[in-house]
Amino acid sequence: MSPSGAELLKQVKSQIDEIDPSKVRELIGEGVAIIDVRETEEFAAGHLPGAKHVPRSYLETRIEGVVADRDAQIVLYCQSGNRSAWAARTLEDDLGYTHVASMTGGITLWKDRGYEVVVPRGLDAQQRERYSRHLLIPEIGVEGQQKLLDAKVLLLGAGGLGSPTALYLAAAGVGTLGIVDDDEVDLSNLQRQVIHSTDRVGVPKVDSAEESIHALNPDVNVVKYPVRIDASNIMEIISGYDVIVDGVDNFPTRYLLNDATVRLKIPVVSASILGFDGQLSVFKPYEGPCYRCLFREPPPAELAPSCGANGVLGVLPGTMGLLQATEVVKLILGIGEPAIGRLLLYDALGATLTEVKVHRDPDCPICSREPDEIADEEMGVFPDYEAFCAAAG
C-alpha cells in the first residue's frame, strides 16, 4: 500500500538533516547559503537576513545559479519546515549536493523565537511584471532591481551613444536618469540617435529624450540639463550621481569630466566612436586608472577628428552605447567584472573585439593625488589647452 502524504513526509525528514533556527542564526554571515524555497509573495512578506530566494517549484532549474558548488553548505527553509524538507531531499538525491539541511519549523518558528526578519521593500504588481525577467536572474532578483530603481545615472549627451544607453537603462528600471545636452534634434541625427524621432526635429534633445523614456518606462525620473557642461557647472551637475556615462564628442570635456569625477570619486563608463571603430573603458577613481592615465594629453587637432564633422556607421553607437549600458548596470548591481583597467577596441568591419591593459599612472597629474588636492583651476586643463581649443574651433 502506498504511504500517505504525512507518512512520506516523515520518511523524507528521517532521511535528511534538519537544523534548529538557533543554529541557523549562528551561521548567518558565515558563508553558508541560506535559501528560501517559498513562493514569491511569501518571500516578499519577509525573509531571513541574507536569504536567497529559489521557489521550490523552480528549485532544480535555478539552484545552480545561486549555489554552483555541490559541496557548499546550504540551509533551506520554508514556512513551517515541510517544503524545505522535500527540497533538501531533491538537492541531495537528485542533484548531488552534499551539505544540505532543512530548518526545523521554518520561518514561523524563527519568528516565534524573536529572530530578525528582513522585509524587502516591495515592488508593486506592475513592477513585478515589468521587471520579471530581471527577477528571474539570481544575480539581480528583487534586491538587485531595487538597487537599479534607487540608482542615479547621469548621461553626458543624448546623442549617438547616449540614445541607446538611455533607452536601455530606462527599460532596465534605473530610477533616475540625468541628461546633459544643450542641442536640438536635427534630421541628420536620426541615422543613429534612436531616442529621438522625425516629428521631434527642432525640439531640445533633453525634452525629446524625456518623452521617449517616459513612453518606455514611466517609473524613471528624468532630470534635464539643457546646458553645455563646463568648469563652472560640472561639479554641481554631477554631484550625487552614482555612475556617469561619458558620450561626449570632444577632448576638453572628457578631461574636465575625468578630473571632476576623480575629485568626487564617481565611476565613469566611457566610450568613443569613429567611422567603424569604437573604444570603451570604465574609469573608477582610485580603484583603477583614470582617463588621464590612459591618455595623458589629447592628440593635436589634426589628429582629433572628433572636432569636425566626421562619419560614423549608424549602428556603431548602438553597439558601443549598449556595452556602456551593460557596464553601468554591472556597476550598480556590483556584479561581474567591469572593464576597469581595460580598454576594449571594437572593429565593426572586422567583427573583432580586442582588449588592451590600462594601468594607473603613478605620475598621473590628477589621480596620483588626493581629491582635495585637486584645485578648481586645474580641472580639464592640459598642456597646450588653449592652442588645442583654438585649432579645434
Binding site: 549627451g157 546623442g159 549617438g160 551613444l161 547616449g162 541625427n189 540617435q193 561619458d246 558620450g247 561626449v248 564628442d249 570632444n250 577632448f251 572628457r254 566610450a271 568613443s272 566612436i273 569613429l274 567611422g275 567603424f276 571603430d277 573604444q279 590612459l294 591618455f295 595623458r296 594629453e297 589629447p298 592628440p299 593635436p300 589628429l303 582629433a304 577628428p305 572628433s306 566626421n310 560614423v312 553607437p317 580598454l343 577596441l345 572593429d347 568591419l349 572586422g350 580586442t354 582588449e355 588592451v356 591593459k357 590600462v358 594601468h359
Partner: protein, 91 residues
C-alpha cells in the same frame, strides 16, 4: 616581421590599411621601419626628440609598452603592436 594594427586616424597615412607589417628587433625599430615606409606617420608617432608622442599609446600585444621597456622592448615575429591615439567621438 611584426604586425602593426593601425588606428582609423592613421590609416590614410598607410594607404588605407588596417594593419601592416614592419621589421625590427624592438618597438622603436619596428615603428621607425613603419615610418620609413610610410613617412606621413613619422610626425604622428614620434616627438622631435625621437620618443613616442605622449598622446599615442603603443601596446605590445595587450600590454602598454610604457610599462614594459618603452621603445627598447623586444619584439618577436609573431607579436602584434597596437597603435592607439585617443578618440573622442560620441555624437
Amino acid at each position: 616581421m611584426a604586425t602593426i594594427k593601425i588606428p582609423p586616424v592613421l590609416r590614410a597615412s598607410v594607404g588605407g590599411e588596417k594593419q601592416v607589417s614592419a621589421s625590427g628587433e624592438n618597438v622603436g625599430d619596428v615603428l621607425r621601419d613603419l615610418a620609413a615606409n610610410h613617412p606621413a606617420t613619422q610626425e604622428q608617432l614620434f616627438a622631435a626628440d625621437g620618443e613616442l608622442n605622449r598622446y599615442v599609446n603603443v601596446y605590445l600585444n595587450d600590454e602598454d609598452v610604457r610599462v614594459l621597456g618603452g621603445l627598447d622592448t623586444a619584439v618577436g615575429d609573431t607579436d602584434t603592436l597596437v597603435i592607439l591615439p585617443a578618440m573622442a567621438g560620441g555624437a
